[in-house]
């Protein structure tokens, strides 16, 4: 028996090494299943919790065009959530169970969404930086070994790059605008830059699981590599906007061919992860409120569907009888 499982695991790994996709009905090690349930559901939670900080500005968007753009973007994120929950469901967990994990604090979501959106410019900064950072992660995930996850990423990445461009365009508008608008943009960058860098997770030396994740192709690059990639792409974009990165240590390193950057405030990072960030409580409350207040609606839909199917059944029975 032991040998059997060992064989299966070896064959499984060989398939991944050969670049084959693992599908839900295929045999997989329990740990692979659990890891994917955890990662995909947390990714899904991030999408829907991520709707909240941006949703905060929908009713106050400064123009009709911007309002439509933001509404559509936040709606896209709901779609991403839906798509990812479905992908996780193929591994044998229900959406209700995943929600329960989110609501009880058992499952995490991206910490960036525990920061408040304090001005319209934050909507630009989030699109530019947060969607931008998400893309770096997700492009890597389009080639991950679990088929439904990889395919979800392909579709989601297209929309994320649209979001990123939309966010950058908002920033560009502000930076080409009045002094007040430019200040607003700079302030948003100051507040969102560091939390964006934190999105890539702890430093490699403090990041467990990486080796296993690399084997399963969930991770093809380490946290630090991805973070560096993001910085290298983003700094010239800030230059183009005429904005200053809030990091005095940031400078091009000719030798490395990368930007050097200052030390991330890891204390703050862990505080936010542990639930003590600026908006953790509010974000979770918004989600649990929506869920609790929606309970009677979901009950009604279920009750109605049941009544309808009973009705259909009795009609069919009558037909057969006559």
């Amino acid at each position: 028996m032991k040998n059997n499982i060992h064989d299966l695991e070896e064959k499984f790994q060989a398939r991944i090494d050969a670049g084959e996709k693992i599908e839900p009905k295929d045999w997989m090690p329990e740990k692979y299943r659990k890891t994917h349930i955890r990662q995909i559901s947390q990714h899904a939670h991030s999408e829907i919790v991520g709707m909240l900080p941006e949703g905060n500005w929908i009713t106050r968007a400064p123009s009709l065009r911007r309002k439509l753009g933001l509404l559509a973007k936040v709606q896209d994120e709901a779609g991403h959530g839906l798509y990812l929950y479905s992908a996780a469901e193929t591994l044998g967990i229900s959406r209700d169970q995943m929600f329960d994990q989110l609501h009880t604090g058992k499952a995490k979501y991206s910490s960036i969404f525990n920061y408040p959106t304090l001005s319209w410019a934050d909507i630009g900064a989030i699109g530019w930086l947060v969607d931008g950072a998400a893309i770096i992660n997700q492009v890597m995930l389009t080639r991950t070994s679990f088929g439904p996850y990889a395919r979800a990423m392909v579709r989601i990445c297209k929309e994320e790059s649209f979001h990123q461009r939309q966010g950058y365009e908002i920033m560009l508008g502000l930076c080409r605008g009045t002094e007040e608008q430019k200040e607003m943009a700079q302030d948003a960058l100051n507040r969102f830059w560091w939390p964006s860098l934190m999105m890539f997770g702890p430093k490699d030396e403090d990041s467990p699981n990486t080796e296993q994740s690399v084997k399963w192709k969930i991770k093809r690059k380490t946290n630090d590599e991805l973070r560096q990639e993001f910085i290298d792409i983003t700094v010239p974009q800030a230059d183009f906007l005429g904005l200053k990165m809030p990091d005095p240590d940031l400078k091009w390193n000719e030798e490395r061919g990368h930007y050097d950057f200052g030390e991330i405030d890891w204390d703050e990072f862990w505080q936010v992860v542990k639930g003590n960030g600026p908006c953790n409580k509010e974000r979770l409350k918004a989600r649990t409120d929506a869920w609790d207040e929606g309970a009677w609606v979901r009950d009604a839909a279920n009750a109605y569907a049941e009544k309808q199917s009973l009705k259909k059944q009795s009609e069919n029975n009558k037909k057969i009888a006559s």
């Binding site: 829907i48 709707m51 968007a61 123009s63 439509l68 509404l71 009950d299």
Partner: protein, 250 residues
């Protein structure tokens, strides 16, 4: 400028805008992801229509106007939406009932506006009718789920209907502008729509196992610019950026 036509476009656009605003308040807070997406979709459709109406209004205006100055820079009394659409979300039942009562009218109105002698209005109506039909089906289906779902949902839907139904009367109180538009063949004679509207919605209300409220109408002059206290708060949010940072591009 044709001031009547301009005002008429405000009546049309403001209804979509204020209802779209109410729906947009819910984005991210729906009872399920699917309903969240669907309600946001309706909001998007409505704001899309607003842009069409207000771009047209800006074009025919004498003074320098843009879709945004029209949307965001009027004082409260200059908004011409019916009172129904500015009513608060309260709960999902109120959202659905408000939507249903509006969609039933909106669909009939757009069907008429497709025949408008004003080509732009007719074109907007042709584009919007598909959306409106979908909205009406969505809200009607949900009305049945709530009305004929559980005891709790039935009661909530009935409460919402009792509260919101009396606002429907306003759809058919023709303002002078609507009378003029009807005479010119630009807008419909609203009296003709009234019977169809009520027979349509009454049928669905009955299917939803709900009963008509005893109070069937109330004084409502939103189209003349007399609003409920809700609108001021809506505008405080809606106009915040344009008022705080005047004359800027976004």
């Amino acid at each position: 400028m044709d001031n009547s036509l301009y005002q008429y476009l405000l009546i049309l656009g403001d209804n979509s805008m204020i209802l779209g605003h109410r729906l947009s308040e819910l984005c991210g807070h729906g009872p399920t992801l699917e309903t969240d997406i669907a309600l946001t979709n309706i909001s998007l459709d409505l704001f899309g229509q607003v842009r069409s109406y207000f771009q047209y209004a800006a074009k025919i205006a004498d003074s320098e106007q843009t879709e945004d100055s029209i949307a965001f820079l009027r004082t409260e009394r200059k908004y011409r939406n019916v009172l129904l659409v500015e009513q608060e979300n309260v709960d999902f039942a109120h959202v659905i009932v408000r939507q249903f009562l509006f969609d039933g009218f909106h669909k009939l109105l757009l069907e008429q506006l497709m025949q408008s002698k004003d080509e732009t209005i007719s074109a907007i109506a042709h584009k919007s009718i598909k959306e409106s039909k979908y909205h009406y089906r969505f809200s009607g289906d949900w009305l049945k789920r709530l009305g004929d779902g559980t005891e709790v949902s039935h009661k909530k839907a009935q409460d919402a209907l009792n509260k919101l139904y009396p606002f429907t009367n306003e759809f058919f109180l023709e303002s002078d502008i609507e009378k003029e538009m009807s005479a010119k063949g630009i807008g419909p004679n609203l009296n003709i729509l009234k019977e169809t509207y009520y027979s349509n919605i009454h049928q669905i209300i009955a299917e939803a196992n709900l009963t008509l409220p005893i109070e069937k109408q109330r004084v409502a002059k939103g189209k003349l610019g007399y609003h409920t206290e809700n609108l001021g708060y809506i505008l405080a949010e809606l106009q915040y950026m344009q008022r705080t940072y005047p004359n800027m591009q976004w």
